[in-house]
């Protein structure tokens, strides 16, 4: 089933793609059919820089389980980072 539902979020940072590092400004998050990962549906994240065109993109496709594990890891790291570093 194609879910269509997409969460978009403004982000600030950099991503490394096939042609090297670039600044990213937008994230798309959706749970849908993967292109490469061997599952029926995956948690897909696109790190995008729309002003640089469609190929300025770093994409990941994760099993739902590993996406949740990643979320926990992200929270754990941010929570334990010394305050005031941003």
């Amino acid at each position: 089933m194609c879910t269509y539902l997409t969460e978009k979020v403004a982000i600030s940072g950099s991503a490394k793609g096939a042609s090297g590092w670039f600044r990213v400004t937008e994230g798309s998050v959706y749970f849908d059919h993967p292109v490469h990962a061997p599952y029926g549906h995956t948690l897909n994240i696109d790190f995008l820089a729309p002003d640089q065109g469609p190929s300025a993109r770093v994409a990941v496709e994760l099993s739902a389980e590993s996406a949740r594990a990643l979320m926990k890891a992200i929270e754990a790291v941010l929570d334990s980072a010394p305050p005031g570093l941003e």
Binding site: M1, Y4, S28, V35, G40, P54, S55
Partner: protein, 250 residues
């Protein structure tokens, strides 16, 4: 036996007169032969769908697949194009744009010197719904819906398709015989959705044929996907070629 097939990227005129990229595959035979518009799945205008388009040509039909994301991401890799279209809120593509692209593709096919004037449409996944949409909007000769989601059924809250008129309501407008190919494990369309669509077709007195493949899920014809099911796909191909063979003959 002369069986030459020519496949290439071309430009056709689509919705609102826009020039859009398309993939063409056609037998180099005086024929005349029928034409088929291929509507690619949500993941995009990709390698496996181009291979599918070539196989239709090998099966004896002029085939063309418009790049439905050409406006959002011209020249991009298919998965990047899909991501860009999604980020721009262009997925799902507006129904009137789809109809316009198919109409343009039909004009292209009818303009080929070996065209017999009969045109069919086929799509997988989102393309399946779009195939049905084309068949209730345009004068086609055959349509194939491969596991098209949201032909019937209420989209969940927040879903982009919510508020769109359910295309099943337009079943009385179906212009041509419809072949539907579904997987028993799919949830949209699930067996209940398929049954509802069948009931609508019966009530409207339409010519149709449905096949549901046991154990197959959404995407069972996509050769590069974990969801591909060889046995079901082989049988589905036979159904498709049989359907187009019957209804796109001169």
């Amino acid at each position: 036996m002369y069986d030459a097939v020519l496949s290439e990227t071309i430009t056709i005129t689509g919705h609102e007169g826009d020039a859009i990229e398309a993939y063409s595959a056609r037998p180099l035979t005086p024929g005349p032969v029928g034409g088929v518009v291929v509507l690619h799945h949500l993941p995009g205008y990709d390698r496996q769908t181009k291979e599918f388009t070539r196989s239709l040509a090998v099966g004896g039909f002029n085939a063309v697949m418009p790049n439905l994301y050409a406006r959002e991401a011209p020249g991009a890799d298919p998965d990047d194009a899909m991501a860009a279209a999604r980020a721009q809120g262009a997925i799902p593509i507006a129904d009137d744009r789809i109809v316009g692209e198919v109409a343009g593709a039909m004009d292209y096919l009818k303009g080929l010197s070996n065209a017999n004037g009969k045109i069919g449409v086929i799509g997988h996944c989102s393309g399946g719904r779009q195939s049905f949409l084309a068949a209730v909007s345009l004068p086609l000769d055959a349509a194939v819906d491969c596991y098209g989601g949201f032909v019937v059924g209420e989209p969940p809250a927040g879903h982009p398709l919510q508020g769109w008129e359910p295309v099943v309501n337009r079943t009385p407008d179906l212009s041509c015989p419809l072949l539907g190919l579904f997987g028993s494990e799919d949830v949209q369309p699930g067996p209940a959705h398929v049954a509802e669509l069948e009931a609508a077709l019966k009530e409207a007195g339409k010519t149709y044929r449905f096949r549901t493949y046991e154990g197959a899920n959404h995407g069972f014809m996509q050769v590069d996907s974990a969801r591909y099911q060889p046995q079901s796909a082989v049988e589905a191909w036979a159904e498709i070629l049989g359907w187009f063979g019957r209804y796109l003959a001169a």
